[in-house]
Symmetry: C2
Subunit: 574 residues, 2 copies
């Protein structure tokens, strides 16, 4: 048993050194951090049998200068000159730090490798287009010269989506192409350049009445955990979902029209909310992950911003089965959907109650007394938005359903505890990794009739690994199913060990009826699962579309969506 | 002025002669009819300056035997034998009546031609597949032999969607492939064969608790005006919308997964309500109108059937502008959407109040007193469904918004008057056509910021034709826009005159910012507008997908969706 009064670990709080690997892989604000709470730390110490001493000296923190030697693979000096002529010298960089920074997403694997100075694929040149016409000229030029084109939005990809497997150029969309183009209050739409970041977009909408003299204030309704460091264009091309998507819809539901620059020319869709004009070109482009073209502009639905109507509520259930029953009944109840809607399994509830400061409290004792036992009880946190009575009726209906399923109200307290930190959790990773503890997440979509087999099956795989925590929650609800978001905390011998473990989980998703991902996109990491999951007929269609837009395979080549590998593994393309 | 006491016209009530043209073009039940009410008739007499005498002897009623000589264009006796071997002799017909019947949809043009015995394109052979495997073998055989394949669902196409322009075979889906395959209550989905008809599908769901021992009763939520004579597969492949789609979603929103038989093999999508696995193959196939393959099975969202919670309400507004303002505010109000939601313009309101028996009533006098003047006032009829308080809150919110926009409640009375006859209106056409009066409808999607320019612009075109009534309503609402459904009643010299008039209206849709159609599909009739509307880039993508699935152009060739005409007009392909 570890002593209760233990010293505070030596968490790193200083901003990463300028030019260091750490400055690349660290999440978010260089000065931002979120240390594990004492109770979580104690659990980790117990799980991994670590002493205070373990937390004194960080292991390979990556706080050393980026330095590597990687010659250009495709780009020649003539190419550089031509590209400089298009966008101007100031918007082109061949600097190694930039080449690495804009080649790096937020997978655990990338972070672990960079801590050790292991550099994988980088692009030859980083380019910051100023406007649509720059993108147009760049794509046309690269197509003529067969130069691979990768796109960097917010950089929060967790699937190697922006990995420049074949060198070439990386377009950084956020540097210049980050403006609100138009807010159309009549149609309740906003048109933005693809590189605008989530918070800038949301701020523009929240403050619309001042900035654009609109009658109402607005919200975009899209809040992925990566919100602060993700781009609107990224949401669209990777099929993102946000923490309130059960109410507002996933990114695919928010898109009204789009403008892409492709190797075969511009493609612009129209602003109609619905028509019967044949197959949906919009839904071909949404989720295309840079394989068909570069998204330059997008028009999205917006919603009235009415935070004053928000309602918080939460419930505790005696078991996962009861909690799932309630979750499904709510999703099928036809009274509208909660906005935040999360259902944690036994283990996540156990850890969550510690994190929210409820474990050990009076409330905890009351719960135990009422029979909600640790490692059996399951927590639901939720909120409702929209018109006032509509939101109120959701709370009321949820309460009725939860009680019928044996749940007990915990008031809005746990949701309120969760809400302020909801974009901060990714900061935890650096602290844990600094001391050799690995945390990673994988998500999978599932229909209601398979949720228990999938949950059990995947947990079995995760828990078969010694000393591994496995927290699971459902966070996006539909009448037909949900997603399961698995978070595991473990230690690993080495990176290969971690990769092998991830593959086992992905195999279990497939085996027990899940999808490769619900809202993380495919990128390159999940690309081997596209074919077994979708089958030949769907893959052949996607490949035919790829050939149409990108006959020279310059758009995000090297495995993205599994479209261009012809039998090789994406990791072989280096 | 026509006398008020006029004799009853000699409406045809007898079922069409067996084997007659009339038995093909007449809407619905052979014994079904819906005669124009006296007030409508009086309006028509006034408009077209017709006397009672005009309504004594019907003009070319088509009640004569189908007889034509049209040799097979593609099919040889060897083909017939081979096809008989696949599906059995009983499921193959080369009979002229069948060839015409299953080549005919419900456009006004087809009806007028058949009255005169004018036969246009027919297929060579009518085939009734028994199951998926029949379809599989038929499509494979036809692909090898380059035989065109057309698909007949419910036969309610209003765009020549099932016109066998190039001969070949017509598959009739409803004869055998009309079953509910599976009802999954846990996932709230129903899987059906594509040929099942609307009422059979809805009845199976409404009676699910008896038929399938489910806990709840269900509804499909899809009620196009053609409901009684349309197939579920047709809803999906033509992107249909129903009269309650503002709440339940358009057909595209209802689809969870699909199974198609295509010339390059079977394509089956998966049952997940949402994933992030790249472009949506489902949304490529929905709306493909038989050009990529034959839909054989589809899994749809279903909803709890709670008619006891239904609320009816209606409002009258002093002007179209005020009515539209209220409609938009409701669609953007974030309290859920009404199910039925129709907003009639001045002229449709004028005629509608006659049809609903309100014109001239006490209520009418009260409305006039309150300043709601004829040919200015506009009627909204609506209902709400779903959970009880949810539906109640929609009624309450709508009332608040309508009052703020200057509207006055007419209680649920007009909606209740409208509801029972809502699938019967198509019967009107036969009566009117029997006396040379033409009625036709065209629909177009529009964003809120263009609704008035489109409404005014199209009305101007329609009203520039002498003695023409033009009724318009919005019937499918989105936060970003709606549709405008134009109904015109006119007389025409001949069919070419009518066609030219339709083309003028379609041109006006394009000119004033509408789409070629909101929920009638493209078929062949609207195909000339695909290119100007969508532009080259979108059309090129659709054509590339067509080439992928149908390299020999056997699937619904001759103009469908504008994919295979290479510069010719679809009418030239005969």
């Amino acid at each position: 048993m570890v002593a209760r009064t233990s010293i505070k670990p030596n968490w790193i709080e200083a901003a990463p050194e300028k030019g260091s690997y750490r400055s690349i892989f660290k999440w978010g604000d260089p000065n931002g951090h979120k240390h594990p709470k004492a109770k979580l730390l104690r659990l980790l110490k117990e799980t991994f049998r670590l002493t205070d001493d373990h937390f004194r000296v960080p292991v390979s923190d990556g706080n050393h200068p980026v330095t590597f030697s990687r010659p250009c693979r495709v780009i020649t000096p003539e190419h550089v000159s031509a590209i400089c002529r298009i966008v101007g010298d100031a918007n082109v960089s061949a600097d190694d730090y930039d080449r690495l920074k804009f080649a790096t997403g937020k997978t655990l694997e990338e972070s672990l490798r960079l801590r050790q100075g292991q550099v994988q694929a980088v692009s030859d040149l980083v380019v910051h287009p100023r406007h649509k016409d720059d993108v147009r000229q760049l794509v046309a030029y690269c197509d003529r010269e067969k130069i691979p084109v990768y796109v960097y939005g917010g950089g929060s990809s967790v699937n190697f989506g922006l990995r420049p497997s074949k060198g070439g150029i990386t377009l950084v969309m956020g540097t210049h192409m980050n403006k609100v183009v138009r807010l159309n209050e009549t149609n309740q739409t906003a048109t933005v350049q693809a590189g605008i970041m989530g918070p800038d977009y949301e701020a523009a909408l929240n403050e619309a009445s001042q900035r654009y003299q609109t009658r109402h204030r607005y919200t975009g309704g899209h809040f992925p955990q990566s919100f602060e460091y993700s781009s609107v264009g990224g949401w669209v091309v990777t099929l993102g979902s946000g923490q309130m998507s059960s109410y507002y819809g996933d990114a695919c539901d928010l898109v009204i029209s789009q403008e892409y620059v492709t190797p075969v020319g511009d493609l612009k869709t129209l602003d109609f909310p619905a028509t019967a004009n044949g197959p949906s070109v919009d839904r071909v482009m949404i989720g295309s992950e840079g394989c068909f073209g570069v998204l330059v502009e997008v028009t999205l639905k917006i919603f009235r911003y009415m935070p004053e109507n928000r309602r918080y509520f939460s419930f505790i259930f005696p078991s996962w089965e009861k909690a799932v029953d309630a979750g499904r009944e709510i999703a099928q109840g036809q009274f509208g959907m909660p906005a935040v809607f999360r259902l944690s399994d036994e283990e996540e509830t156990h850890i969550g109650l510690k994190l929210y400061g409820i474990d050990g409290s009076l409330l905890d004792r009351y719960m135990r007394l009422r029979g909600f036992a640790p490692m059996q009880r399951c927590l639901m946190i939720a909120s409702a938005e929209g018109e006032k009575r509509f939101a109120g009726n959701i709370r009321r209906s949820v309460r009725r359903i939860c009680r019928q399923a044996g749940g007990m109200s915990l008031t809005g307290y746990p949701t309120r505890q969760w809400a302020p930190g909801r974009f901060k959790d990714p900061y935890l990773r650096e602290d844990l990794n600094d001391y050799g503890i690995l945390i990673e997440t994988l998500d999978t979509a599932v229909t209601w009739d398979r949720i228990h087999q999938l949950h059990r099956g995947v947990r079995e795989v995760v828990k078969s690994r010694p000393d591994t925590l496995c927290m699971t929650h459902a966070s996006h609800f539909y009448a037909q199913g949900t997603n399961l978001y698995f978070i595991f905390i473990t230690r690993a011998e080495n990176i290969d060990d971690l990769i092998a473990f991830q593959e086992k989980i992905l195999y279990a998703f497939q085996q027990f009826g899940g999808s490769p991902t619900h809202h993380h996109g495919i990128g390159k990491l999940f690309s081997p699962w596209m074919q077994p999951h979708l089958g030949d007929a769907q893959m052949d269609l996607l490949k035919a579309i790829k050939r149409h837009f990108d006959p020279n395979t310059i758009m995000n080549p090297g495995g993205q969506l599994g479209l261009d590998l012809n039998g090789r593994h994406w990791r072989e393309v280096v």
